[in-house]
Amino acid sequence: MKRVIAVFFLFISVVQATELQYRFGRGLSIDNRFYLGGYTSLQYEYRENGYYEYKVDDLAVLGFLRFNKFKIFGELEARNWYYKSKNTDGEFNLKLHTERIYLQYDFNEHFKIRGGRFITPLGIWNQVHINALKWTTSDPVTAVWFYPWFSTGLDIFGFLPVLSENTEYHFFIQKTKNIDHEYNNVKSDDFIGFQFKKYFDVNRYAGFNGGRFYDTDLRETTTFVGFFGYLNIKRFYLMGEAYLAHENEEHHTSYSSRIDKESYYLQMVYRVFSRNYLILRNEYFNDRSDNGYLHVWTIGWNYKPRFNISLKGEFQIFEKRANRFLTSFAVLF
């Protein structure tokens, strides 16, 4: 109890000595150095075969401290905080897990390094995978089934010092268990990858990437390559990603050129009128080794009554599965 009181008084004295500011959607900032915020979302899904589910999808707290060239970043999250489906009773999950925790040092524009658990720095969708940032409630399969969302290791990145000063690179490596296995789509202890992203403008970029990881659950090594592009002109957004992957059931066996998985998505977003966006997406996935196939059209609407709040609704038309309707509410705080 004494400790709690001491920490409380320490906090009060720090707060009094500093500039404290809270802005809904941009979090609490202390001295423009430390930021504390978070996000949450509610989601409902109904499929044409009668299945339904609703959930408090995520509840997360994130904080970061910037000091000159250093940055410390942390994020804790409880996913499926409340979950209820047609087949299950309502369940609460109040366990917080480490989504991200890393230390970053920027030597200069060409050489920055981060170590810890971070979002795998590949593609477009994976960088903004939370409900509050995505254009749709659903994720395209392309962004789910090709590489682990999170990596625990080292990432070296920056803008190329030669050839093209507007090309950003990433080289990352993981040779250890994840800091936290929860909320990662793939459990891996061996992951290596790269990405090159050429900015034609902040709103226009394209790039390619690749990597290899070992799935410790499936005991399978996957090698993948991908391409992506993003374009935003005024009210119009166009983005897409495509991936090819080869799978080996044994770790580090020799690579053959066989393509086991392929996928793409192409998404168009148009601001029909202020704060209201129409979304149209086409996605395709084919897994020859597991006979998986998916072809989906998604049409959706995203209403942003405030910059940090998103109300979404969408209908997904599947080629070989029951169509579904999704709606969600998400907020950054």
Partner: protein
């Protein structure tokens, strides 16, 4: 004939003086090793895509959202409207990148860029003094 030339010269002078009056300039302190910058570089800096210029860390500062100068800067340099910027900064916030620091007035911007090495900001041209360097000129027209 002489009178008409005088009138013409007067009109030209008025045009240029009005134009100069309407100019917004990007400035930095004398201790910051940046002499000029391109519009694209400026955009990258204000959107925090890039944080270094010539090997030195840069600290962009903004005026409040309702400031007419900020609106000009947003339109001419960032070339993005408020909704585009909100979407952009939501994504950056998620990655631990905060928007540029907001200062309350041009006077505050001047004081800040003079004091902090690497700081850049925008003010009206007529408010530039001898301790500031102009590194980019934004023409309103």
């Amino acid at each position: 004939m002489k009178k008409s030339i005088r009138v013409l010269v007067f009109i030209i002078c008025m045009f240029f003086s009005l134009n100069a009056h309407g100019e917004v300039v990007v400035v930095t302190g004398k201790n910051t090793p940046i002499d000029s910058i391109s519009r694209q570089e400026l955009k990258n800096i204000y959107l925090k895509i890039k944080t270094f210029v010539n090997g030195h860390r840069v600290i962009p500062v903004n005026l409040p959202p309702d400031s007419p100068l900020r609106k000009i800067f947003q339109k001419k340099v960032l070339q993005m409207d408020s909704e585009q910027l909100n979407i952009y900064w939501n994504e950056m916030y998620f990655h631990g990148i905060e928007p540029p620091l907001v200062l309350s007035s041009e006077e505050a911007v001047k004081k800040f860029v003079k004091k902090v090495k690497g700081a850049i900001g925008y003010i009206r041209r007529e408010n530039v003094d001898k301790d500031l360097k102009i590194i980019f000129i934004i023409r309103e027209r």
